[in-house]
């Protein structure tokens, strides 16, 4: 029961946090000192243009009223029109979110083997040259900023070995193959960053499990080293890594912003950057709220996983 109550508490806190985030976003975008309309249009704006924009954003209403309207709009699925091309925000968001969701799924599919294989090699060859070499590689990849890692991959697979397109442009008319080729590099970049973030922990967990009594028993029963690793050690070592994986998901939402920019992939991250560069207020507000919601959900998942896996809480 304790665990259930704890989990319910975490859910409650997550919603409170999301609510405060929405206030912060709204405050930063619309109540910051200075006139919103002139901030969007810059110094060269005419009084007339400013008035039109003010009317469109309903800036003449008091701020609390505008905030409530915005919240109600979110729940009703009505997010208004974008400022730049006057299309419904929801219509802009839909395909972009879909693209990014596919990108994230592929990245996660690549992430698992990319994390498991080096960790398994390191754990089986503990303290040998292989182990140290992979540790150094982990450090180098983790220290390479993701925009640089993406650019290096781009250089490798577009310039040196030209097998992939330089720009990952896709739309609803793209074939499956085009999609796959477009997604390959951005997904690999994200997967590499996430994988090497988890490798060190996975390696240590594997070593700990491999030293356990039941593994020794399995070995003494004549099972091969490989079958001991895959059938007995790995499942037990993976459980603590679930937490890292959930946290990796929270990295992903920031990571897609950079990676989509590097590869010109038309996803949610690009939409967010463009909205911010063009100061398209309705689009900015909802994209940042979505990013924060994903982040909060990922952290909530990590919390719930560690509560569920904690035997002291589970048994009581």
């Amino acid at each position: 029961m304790t665990a259930l109550r704890l989990i319910a508490g975490r859910f409650g806190l997550a919603f409170v946090t999301l609510f405060i985030v929405s206030i912060i976003i709204f405050a930063m975008v619309e109540i910051l000192p200075g006139d919103v309309a002139s901030r969007i249009l810059g110094q060269l704006a005419t009084a007339e243009n400013l008035e039109v924009l003010r009317a469109q954003l309903q800036l003449n209403d008091p701020a609390p009223k505008r905030y409530l309207n915005w919240l109600v709009g979110i729940f009703q699925g009505d997010l208004g029109n974008t400022l730049t091309n006057q299309r419904p925000v929801t219509e802009m968001l839909g395909p972009r979110l879909k693209n990014t969701a596919i990108l994230s799924l592929v990245a996660f599919a690549l992430y698992l083997p990319l994390a498991l294989i080096p960790a398994a090699i390191q754990a089986l060859n503990r303290d040998t040259v292989k182990d140290h070499a992979l540790s150094i590689l982990t450090l180098i990849i983790l220290s390479t900023p993701d925009f640089l890692l993406g650019t290096i991959l781009l250089f490798g697979f577009v310039v040196v070995i030209p097998i992939l397109p330089a720009q990952s442009l896709v739309d609803h008319t793209s074939s499956f193959l085009e999609y796959a080729r477009a997604i390959a590099l951005p997904a690999t970049t994200l997967a590499l960053v996430m994988a090497f973030y988890a490798v060190r922990m996975l390696r240590d967990n594997l070593i700990e499990v491999l030293d356990a009594e039941y593994i020794r028993t399995a070995e003494l029963n004549g099972l091969s080293r490989r079958s001991v690793l895959w059938r007995h050690a790995l499942p037990n070592a993976l459980i603590p890594t679930l937490n890292v994986t959930a946290l990796n998901f929270s990295y992903l939402i920031g990571g897609v912003v950079i990676v989509e920019k590097v590869f010109s992939f038309p996803g949610f991250g690009r939409l967010l950057i463009d909205a911010l560069l063009l100061r398209d207020i309705p689009l900015i507000e909802i994209t940042i709220l979505i990013a924060a919601a994903v982040y909060i959900a990922a952290n909530l998942a990590a919390d719930v996983i560690s509560i569920v896996l904690n035997p002291r809480l589970r048994s009581s």
């Binding site: 405060i20 450090l139 310039v159 929270s250 950079i258 950057i273 909060i296």
Partner: protein, 295 residues
């Protein structure tokens, strides 16, 4: 041998002994960082060309001894530009982190000491700010600061501080809660000291270790944050040779002159590797001394 000389040698060798006993990652990191700091401090004086000097050679003529990172399409020497950018990256990273550390520590320690509704409100807001992925939060602030401030180093420093503030506040609050029940804090409170003086004289000295590691950690990620903002077009403006901006500027050249991208990229990555190693070592050293102090 003269006694004084001997003394000096034994003094040196004891320093050397301390150095030998630090973790290997700390030593390697310190050497890499030292090279970076020396290059950043002196680079502008011995860089072969100016930070935006055109016509240093044939544009896009590739790598050579005279131009290790090649030349861009305007004939600017990329290696010289990297040298001119080093101190920008380091100064902005340090001052931004410092801003976040000072404000965050004050907020966090006060929040932990005062408790009650003040603590609740502050921590909820901090939690909410941390929930907006930091790069996105940074871009939001820069975008909303308006076009007059855009591209100003002060804005980028402020943004780094703003992003780190809630993170430092959370650490400082935890550290404050750790010592708040100790006798000396109680005594100070009973003496009638005001919260500000308790925070400054009793809590802060006890939180220094934790905050120092946090500072090293954040100062280590700040160059990447600043470079990422620059790369995405939210940081400094060209032709400022901040490394992220530089890499973004040269990226269209990657097919014809990859060295103009990979050169600055290598320098940026080596700085981060040095910072990561050094921080890991520092955390180990401080963790060890903290433990021996407790015993």
């Amino acid at each position: 041998m003269d006694a004084q000389v001997q003394l000096r040698i034994s003094g040196l060798s004891s320093y050397y002994g301390v150095w030998r006993r630090t973790p290997i990652s700390f030593r390697v990191g310190a050497v890499i960082l030292a090279i970076h700091i020396v290059a950043a401090a002196t680079g502008p004086f011995w860089a072969p060309y100016g930070l935006a000097q055109m016509g240093a050679g044939m544009p896009l003529s590739g790598m050579s001894w005279a131009h290790p990172f090649g030349l861009d399409q305007m004939g600017r020497d990329v290696f010289s530009r990297v040298l001119h950018g080093g101190h920008i990256v380091i100064i902005m990273a340090l001052s931004g982190t410092m801003l976040g550390a000072v404000l965050g520590s004050i907020v966090g320690l006060l929040s932990g000491y005062l408790g009650g509704w003040f603590d609740d409100v502050v921590m909820r807001i901090a939690e909410a700010l941390i929930s907006i992925p930091f790069l996105i939060l940074g871009m939001l602030v820069i975008s909303m600061a308006g076009s007059e401030l855009a591209g100003q180093p002060v804005l980028v420093i402020f943004v780094v501080g703003f992003i780190y503030l809630p993170r430092f506040a959370r650490m400082a609050r935890a550290a404050a809660l750790d010592v708040i029940t100790r006798d000396f804090v109680m005594v100070a409170r009973l003496r009638g000291e005001d919260p500000w003086s308790v925070v400054r004289r009793e809590l802060l000295p006890n939180a220094t270790g934790v905050l120092l590691v946090e500072f090293a950690l954040r100062a280590g990620t700040a160059p990447v944050l600043i470079a990422s903002l620059g790369f995405l077009g939210f940081g400094l403006r060209p032709p400022t040779p901040e490394w992220g901006v530089l890499i973004a500027e040269n990226r269209p050249l990657i097919v014809v002159a990859p060295e103009t991208v990979l050169g600055p990229g290598f320098v940026l990555a080596s700085l981060v590797i040095g910072l990561n190693l050094w921080t890991e070592g520092l955390a180990r050293i401080l963790g060890r001394t903290a433990r021996t102090n407790d015993q």
